[in-house]
């Protein structure tokens, strides 16, 4: 369990966007309501050059959230000590307001598979993931946030609901949660439950950040709807409705617009951030 006094400053309860280099100048000239930026940790693990220079400039004007996509916290092997060391180095010089990772695995043996792969919710998984979160928080000296995945299939062996599984991880490790409402909508549609029931069972008090993003629509072998987490367009209306639903429970919170593929021009992305700002403006202070 992490010592709570190590907890760093939190992200502002305002809109943020996933940072893309093509928006560097726009963000400084016309940020609109955007108060913070999220970066993918692994993209800044080179030795220097423009990525580092841009981050050094941006951290003067924006709070920064470091979002890892490569730690493989759900992996069945031990965490890669080299990668943990690189994360520690990044977090030490950048001093971000938040560090988050995913409830997923992406590394197997020496291979990195560059996707967030799913986990069965069992006692064995719970023990392993809790140990990994403990290790991350100990090495980084800070509380981390864990993000709920987008699921396309179920494991026959699962014995926990995802919400109970997350709540138990919070209880065991003291970690916080990153609630991705797009992922909730995707998983609920794909696995046939209502997203509202998921939020009603979710440990809202542990939320340190919320994600909204876009998805694509497909069908499975039997013609059932299959939503794909693409981060390549505006968030869908039901996802914005879920954001309102979540914010009603949490009060004002940091809300991130994720748009990683077919990245649009700045006015289009900023319009999504302004929509998040409106959602936040209509939430009674917590």
């Amino acid at each position: 369990m992490l010592d709570a006094t190590l907890t760093p400053p939190r992200l502002p309860a305002a809109p943020g966007v996933g940072y893309k280099a093509q928006h560097f100048a726009d963000l400084r000239d016309a940020p609109g309501s955007v108060k913070w930026l999220e970066i993918h940790a692994e993209n800044y693990m080179g030795d220097g050059g423009r990525p580092h220079a841009q981050l050094r400039a941006l951290r003067e004007d924006f709070a920064i959230s470091v979002h890892g996509v490569g730690l493989s916290i759900g992996g069945d092997g031990r965490l890669d000590p080299d990668h943990l060391g690189r994360l520690k180095h990044l977090v030490s010089w950048l001093e971000p307001s938040s560090f988050s990772e995913h409830l997923a695995w992406s590394t197997h043996g020496a291979e990195f598979l560059d996707d967030l792969l799913p986990l069965p919710y069992t006692d064995a998984t719970l023990t392993r993931v809790a140990e990994h979160i403990d290790e991350v928080q100990e090495v980084l000296g800070r509380r981390m946030l864990l993000e709920n995945p987008s699921s396309y299939l179920a494991f026959a062996e699962s014995t926990w609901s995802e919400t109970d599984f997350l709540a138990e991880l919070v209880r065991r490790t003291g970690c916080g949660l990153l609630l991705d409402v797009n992922n909730v909508f995707i998983s609920a549609t794909n696995l046939d439950y209502t997203p509202q029931s998921y939020l009603d069972a979710y440990p809202l008090a542990a939320i340190g950040e919320i994600h909204v993003g876009g998805h694509d629509e497909d069908e499975d072998d039997h013609g059932a709807p299959l939503l794909i987490d693409s981060h390549g367009r505006e968030a869908a209306e039901p996802v914005w409705a879920l954001l309102d639903h979540a914010l009603a429970g949490t009060g004002p919170a940091p809300v991130l617009v994720e748009w990683d593929n077919d990245v649009p021009d700045w006015p289009t992305l900023r319009a999504e951030a302004e929509r998040a700002a409106s959602a936040l403006a209509s939430v009674p202070a917590g």
Binding site: G49, Y152, A154, A156, E157, D220, A224
Partner: protein, 252 residues
């Protein structure tokens, strides 16, 4: 029933394998379309990373051919690190022995150049050498001095005109490639890597400098290729592009 990550991974990169047991739709039925989402995500992510990392190779081959090559390469050589900025280090060697493209013999060296540009982009920042320190040296001392190259500096040897090929495929109005051997130096004056064509003598000099030889030994290596070798233009280029960081004189 448990579905191990080893089983999941094996089926992920081999579409001929059956979907692992224990993965279902919400009604508990087996599903291949759902597993295919993960298969597709991984393959598309790796192909996209290679497209981003090797734009000239992609242009030379065309999108369809490049994607076929990338798919074969990705299945045989998945990334070995979460640092996707380095993905594809094995592609030149893969191309060296890739029979279907053996008739385009310069492809592996073009891939090496694109990797060198990427390495330069992410290399560490260093303060450049004040050239006055070189100018202040006595000529005898100068010839025994070692030059320290910035980590941004990359040297790609080739017997193909890879600089011309790179330029022809990235710049409008670039002349057609000539039939000459073209080693390439990559520098990064600020943030943008820039390739420069070298003569064989210049490449031999730079190789010796990179191996920490004193200037005199490096000049010997160059004159073995070209008795008329003139150090001036390359040294000027290195200084102008912040490619030197320090010097060691014999008395250091």
């Amino acid at each position: 029933m448990t579905t191990t990550q080893a089983e999941f991974r094996a089926a992920l990169l081999d579409p001929a394998r059956a979907v692992p047991d224990g993965l279902t739709d919400p009604k508990g039925q087996p599903t291949s379309r759902r597993f295919a989402v993960y298969r597709n995500n991984v393959t598309v992510a790796l192909i996209d990373a290679l497209r981003t990392g090797f734009p000239v190779l992609c242009k030379l081959l065309g999108d369809q051919n490049f994607d076929q090559l990338a798919r074969l390469f990705a299945r045989a050589h998945p990334p070995t690190s979460p640092l996707m900025m380095h993905y594809g280090e094995d592609l030149p060697a893969f191309l060296d022995s890739f029979e279907p493209l053996a008739h385009i013999a310069y492809l592996p060296d073009v891939a090496r150049l694109e990797l060198a540009l990427r390495r330069a982009y992410h290399a560490a920042d260093r303060t450049a050498l004040d050239p006055a320190r070189l100018g202040a040296l006595d000529p005898d001392v100068l010839m025994q001095t070692r030059l320290h190259l910035s980590p941004t500096v990359q040297l790609v040897h080739s017997r193909w005109p890879i600089h011309d090929i790179w330029r022809y495929n990235t710049q409008a109005d670039a002349p057609k490639p000539r039939g000459i051997a073209q080693p390439v130096l990559v520098t990064r004056a600020a943030f943008d890597p820039e390739p420069h064509a070298l003569t064989l003598a210049q490449a031999a000099w730079l190789q010796a400098i990179a191996e920490n030889a004193p200037l005199e030994k490096a000049v010997d290596a160059a004159t073995a290729h070209d008795a008329e070798f003139d150090l001036g233009p390359l040294l000027t280029l290195l200084i102008q592009h912040n490619a030197l960081t320090d010097i060691s004189t014999p008395k250091d």
